[in-house]
Structure formats: C-alpha cells, structure tokens
C-alpha cells in the first residue's frame, strides 16, 4: 500500500515537472518574441526620430532601477521570484512557518515624509513627444521583464522537481 502511495505521488510529481517544462518553453518563446519586438520597435523609432536620437547619448551611465526582483517563500517551501516596481508597497504574505500571532494593528507611528520623488519615466529621456514605436518598445520590454521573473520561478521549481523525482524514479 505504502509503495503504491509513493508511486502515485511520484507520478503526480513527474506530471507536474513535465507541465512546468512545457510552460517554461512557452514562456521562453514568449520572452524571445517580446525582446525581438522591442528591438524592432526601437529600430522603427530610430527611423522616425533619427539614429542619434535613440541611443546611448540619451541615457545616463548611472540609473535608478524602476523595478526590482522580490523573493518570497511559496507555501510549498520553494522560492517565488516576482518583478515589482521599486518602492511599491508589497502586502506581506503570512507563510506557514509564521508561528506567532500577528497584531492586526501595529503601534501608531507618525507617517514618514516622502524621501524620494516619483521615479521618472525612462521614455522622457528621449523627449516628451516621442513616437508610438518607442512606447511600444517600452511596453514590449516591460512584458519581457514580467516573463523573466516567471521563468526564474519556474526554473527553481523544475530544478527542485528534478532533484526529487529522478533519484526516487531510479529506485
């Protein structure tokens, strides 16, 4: 009986692994597509604005990042990577490991003054009146970033799945 349970569990893990692999392939293809679209839109923007108007002259050597990667722990214990806007308030997730009770309302604090101004849209480095192709390029690259976060999470899950499944499979 116990052996059958183990085999059933192994089967479901392998099916999950294969499903993850399929999703990973699809997301990789989508990421490649977005990045290619972004570069093509940049070429179209150069056609409309001039080659020297969309290039290294328009951005500073040091930049403030607009997005960052947020690592959190999923219920199954694996790391979950998400791409979020830098400085955004992320609602705290209470994981299963949190044993202690949490106070619903913390002690009242005086609100801290806003130390940084709102981050500037990188689109404005190229001017205020930019062509539609440049906006499309920005949208494509933004989508690509989200996909990159999902791909990283999937790859963590797949590596874990491979580590668990294959030694057990051989037994």
């Amino acid at each position: 009986m116990a052996a059958r349970d183990v085999r059933t569990e192994l089967d479901s893990l392998i099916l999950q692994l294969l499903a993850d692999l399929e999703e990973l392939e699809a997301k990789r293809a989508a990421l490649n597509g977005r990045v290619e679209e972004g570069w093509l839109s940049l070429a179209q923007a150069r056609y409309a604005m001039g080659v020297k108007s969309v290039g290294p002259l328009q951005y500073a050597s040091r930049m403030e990042p607009q997005v960052c990667v947020c690592a959190s722990e999923a219920p199954d214990g694996l790391q979950n990577l998400r791409v979020v806007r830098a400085g955004a308030q992320i609602p705290e997730e209470v994981g299963p490991r949190e044993a202690a009770l949490r106070r619903r309302k913390g002690p009242t604090k005086t609100p801290e003054p806003e130390s940084t101004t709102a981050p500037q849209d990188p689109l404005n480095w190229f001017g205020i009146l930019v062509p539609h192709s440049l906006r499309q390029a920005q949208a494509s690259f933004r989508d690509g970033l989200q996909l990159a976060g999902d791909i990283a999470t999937l790859q963590i899950r797949i590596s874990w799945g491979q580590r668990i499944c294959f030694p057990n499979f051989l037994q």
Binding site: Q44, V51, K52, S53, L57, Q58, S61, G127, I128, L129
Partner: protein, 319 residues
C-alpha cells in the same frame, strides 16, 4: 541597388555592396564590427562634403538659402547637446554625434546654459539661430519638457522664416519650395498632435508649437489643437483634399504608420522638384532625398543585424 540588399547576411556584406554604388569606399576606414551607428555617421559625413561643395560655389541669395537649410540641423544639435547635459554626458562625447551639416563654432558652450535666455544671450546670439528665439525666451530651467517646447518653437520660427524667404524670392523657387514647406509645417502639426496624446503637454501649449505657414492655418490648426485621439485628428485631415488620402492610407495590410505615409509624400514632392529648371529647390530636394536614402540604408542594416529579413522591404523607394 536596393533590390539586392535584402539578400545580404551581414552588415559587412552591406559595406561591400555599397562600394559598387556612388557611396564607394566611404566605410573603408571603419573597423569591425560595423555598427549601424558607424554607417550612419559616415553617410552623414559624405553628404556634408557634397553640401559644402555646393555651398562653396554659391553666391547670394543661394548662400542664404543654404544657411536656412543648415538651421534645422543646428537646432537638432543644440537640443542633442542640452539633453546630453541633463544626462551628465561630456561635451566631447556629444559633439562626435552631432550632425555635421549643423556645425557652428559656439556649439561647445551650449551645455552651460541653464535657461533659454542664458542660451540666447550667452551662446546663440551671434549664430543664424538668433532670429528664431523671439517666442522662446523664458527663465524656466531647461528640463525635458522645456527642452521639447524649445525644440518645437525654434523649429516653428525657423520654418516660417524660411517660407517667407522663399516666397519673397518668388519665381520658380517659390513655386517649388512653398508647397514643400507648407507640407512640412502641416506634417509637424499632425505629428506633434499625435505624439502629444497621453503626455503632460497641455492643449494650449500644443497649439503654440504649430507652424503657421501651412495649409492648416488657421482653422485646421485650431481644430487640431482640440483633438484628443487619432480619429479626431483624421476628421480634421478630411477637410483637406491633400491630406485625406494620406490618412486613408494609414494602417491597411502594409501596417503603414502616419510617419511612413508622410515620408512617402515628401519623397514624391522632392522628386518632382527636378522637373523644373533654374531654381534653388533642387538643392533642398537633393539633400532631403539623400536623407531618405540614408534612412532606408540604416533600416536595412538594422533588419540585417536583427535578422528580420521579412521587414527589410518596408523602406520607402525613391523612384
């Protein structure tokens, strides 16, 4: 020549193919890898040499006509330098990328200016751009929005002055150049409107950027200033027999953008300039058609380097 470029696997092959044309060995001094930016820079240098040849052989009033032609490149260079200063780039780095047709001695000092009045009084007062500053003077710090406003206001004044010069010259030059400059003015009004949707530019500010020497002035410009999306803009264009077919051609199976359609129209008008004789418009048309050729070559080079062979034929042929 263009028909063979789409089968080239790399930009080095593009260089070899261009050697068989008028361009000759203009890329010989460039080291590998041959980037699109390098090709563009060398083509510009070649055009500048040809232009200087024309200018050195010219007498008045043709010399003034040539000066007017260089003003648009000067405006672009000034804006490039100011934007570079905002991004803390060194002047040397930007000067290399400036358009050679718009070179002037005071260029290196542009980045020290903090307001438009500074820029005028300290740097540009002795240059051909000085007369175009009359509507642009302000004490506001030059941030991205103000630089954009400055660019468009300078260009508006320049275009109106150039138009007046051609009109006063009269003769075949006026017959050829005035419609071309009217189209340029209207094109700028449409493109400014299109690009301003969804930005912080107000409708009142937008209206101050429209050049007034085109067919759209005054009613069309007034309507365009109120437009809030592409369809409203298209309805304004439908009042004008020249612009209705252009807007109808946008989209469609070829996925043409408004800019593409305008470039095609510009090419048509410039090609027709060569059908008349003894006028200055041929010099203007030659430079503009050369620019379109350069845009086409850069597009083909980008498609080759990004491996988008199917998109190569989206350039505008000059027939």
């Amino acid at each position: 020549m263009k028909s063979n470029l789409h089968i080239l696997p790399s930009t080095t092959d593009l260089k070899i193919h261009l050697q068989t044309t008028d361009y000759g060995n203009f890329l010989n001094n460039q080291t590998n890898p041959l980037t699109v930016s390098k090709i563009d820079t060398e083509m510009r240098q070649k055009l500048c040499r040809e232009f200087d040849y024309f200018r050195n052989h010219s007498l008045e009033p043709l010399s003034t006509f040539f000066t007017y032609m260089t003003c648009s490149y000067m405006i672009d260079n000034v804006i490039l330098l100011m934007n570079g200063a905002l991004q803390k780039k060194s002047v040397k780095e930007i000067l290399v990328k400036c358009h050679p047709l718009g070179r002037f001695t005071e260029m290196e000092a542009v980045n020290i200016a903090e307001t438009t009045s500074d820029l005028f009084n300290a740097v540009l007062v002795e240059t051909p751009l000085a007369p175009f500053f009359q509507d642009c003077m302000s004490e506001n710090t030059l941030d991205e929005l103000n630089i954009e406003l400055l660019r468009n206001k300078l260009y508006k004044s320049y275009l109106e002055a150039f138009y007046k010069f051609c009109k006063n010259h009269g003769d075949v030059t006026a017959e050829i150049m005035c419609p071309i400059l009217e189209f340029e003015a209207d094109r700028r009004a449409f493109i400014i409107t299109l690009n301003s949707f969804g930005t912080e530019l107000s409708k009142e500010d937008r209206e101050t950027l429209y050049p007034t020497c085109g067919k759209l002035y005054p009613e069309g410009l007034r309507l365009l200033a109120q437009a809030e999306d592409f369809d409203q803009m298209k309805r304004v264009a439908e009042h004008y027999g020249v612009y209705k077919p252009l807007f109808d051609a946008v989209g469609g199976s070829g996925g043409k953008t408004l800019e593409d359609v305008f470039y095609e129209r510009e090419v048509q008008m410039n090609v027709l300039a060569f059908n008349r004789q003894f006028h200055y418009g041929v010099f203007y048309a030659y430079v503009k058609l050369k620019e379109q050729e350069m845009r086409n070559i850069v597009w083909i080079a980008e498609c080759i380097s990004q491996r988008h062979r199917t998109k190569i034929n989206s350039y505008i042929p000059i027939l």
